[in-house]
Symmetry: C2
Subunit: 268 residues, 2 copies
């Protein structure tokens, strides 16, 4: 095998192919993934320029409605001085580590130009920062701290091995965080603990693996479920889509109930 | 109060002053803090230059004996292409989050020039990377991946609010990770659960607060213990040093036993 063909071959684990045609289950866009990651944590890494050389530092962030990233940095710290010298900046936000493979998790790089908001824009930035950062009220107005807003021009999302995409700035600004993301981990655990039979029905009826013998849910989002299944032909990975996108935080239960009912009807 | 004087006043919580003279308990140097943080996790944020603008990304790292930071990046990813264009880079390594204040944790920024090691140097870099990164054997030799070593020229350590220092490159290269760091959290939990009386004796005898009524351990390292105490005069924070620096992973138990014995003798 030529070397070029082997590139990234490690992502192509041998998986069982679907036996039945599968309706394309929609996925969140890169813009939505980015906004969802940013909504999930206030902790980020900041890259700034120190005499033209890159400088990585730890920050916390707020988020404006249009996805502008609010920073609050001190001129006593290098990143604060760097932004005053050159406002180009980049922020990395990563999902919490899960499992032993740190590079399997989602993350997004946002890059653009930072500016210091004034007047009502500063009020909005201050509110967005303090809403997410405990203790910020204790220092945000001190003389050495400044609020900055990173206007995002470039968005590069990586969802793990082999899943990655860029987003246009306008799509990023218009996107919203997935409302079910804060509840997804608990819902996935509940499905796996108490509803393995329902997951198996989904994989058999809608996931393209009618011979599956067991199924687990790997992830849930507002558009569907990522499922892993055991089949006589080996391990399979599939995705099933909800009847309609969920648009409220508590919508996962009803959507999975509908998915289960539909799967069982198809199998009956 | 002038604005300048209020800068960083949030770090000055009202703490009880020691009543007795306290022997200066040594602390780890910034260089040792940096090496210890780097030894504690393979996960880091990388800052590179994308057409001269900063670009933050997620990486895993290996560490060479001299503190050189080993990266393994793909030219299919932006950070890989960036390094080929301009080898200036910076790496941020942070301690795991503990508590609800993300900026209270230790972190270090390392900055310098990355190069692609060859021959025996590549072998050493490959071994250092694979020793810390699960699954690396599965992709490290693929054609699109390259090993890089960041030669560290600048080191900036932040230990939390109000604790920060830079390290010289030579001191960083010569420093070693604290051998007790991997066991410190468990030791601290054990001290707080089962040996509150010993901690209180330390604070009273060696920590400068003979009127303390309760004590807990906040952190342990190869040089001593950080202790928090309740006193009739309010909350106190102090540090007690071990009789000698610990130089082996299992040394915390004997050092704290000695500290307890010494404290109780002084109080007897």
């Amino acid at each position: 095998m030529a070397e070029a063909q082997r590139d990234h071959a490690y992502t192509e684990r041998s998986l069982a192919e679907p036996l039945a045609e599968v309706a394309g289950a929609p996925r969140r866009s890169a813009a939505e993934e980015a906004r969802t990651l940013l909504a999930g944590t206030s902790v980020a890494s900041l890259a700034t320029l120190s005499d033209g050389a890159p400088w990585a530092s730890l920050v916390q962030t707020g988020v404006l409605e249009d996805g502008g990233v609010v920073l609050c940095v001190s001129t006593l710290a290098e990143h604060g001085r760097n932004l005053l010298e050159d406002p180009r900046a980049s922020v990395l936000v990563a999902a919490p580590e899960a499992g032993d493979d740190a590079l399997a998790r989602g993350r997004v790089t946002l890059a653009g130009i930072a500016h210091r908001p004034e007047g009502a824009a500063r009020d909005a930035a201050r509110a967005a920062y303090c809403a997410r950062v405990p203790y910020a009220e204790g220092y945000v107005d001190f003389g050495d701290f400044s609020l900055w807003v990173l206007e995002v021009e470039r968005v590069r999302w990586v969802g793990g091995y082999g899943r990655m995409a860029s987003a246009e700035a306008a799509d990023y600004a218009a996107a919203r965080p997935d409302p079910v993301a804060p509840h997804a981990a608990r819902a996935v655990a509940h499905l796996n603990e108490d509803h393995a039979d329902a997951l198996l029905a989904m994989v058999r009826a809608l996931g393209g693996h009618p011979d599956a013998t067991a199924a687990t849910c790997m992830a849930a989002d507002r558009l569907g479920l990522d499922l892993e299944a055991a089949t006589p032909r080996g391990r399979a990975i599939t995705r099933v889509g909800f009847a309609a996108p969920i648009d409220e935080p508590g919508g996962l239960r009803a959507a999975t109930v509908e998915l289960t009912r539909r799967s069982r009807e198809l199998l009956a």
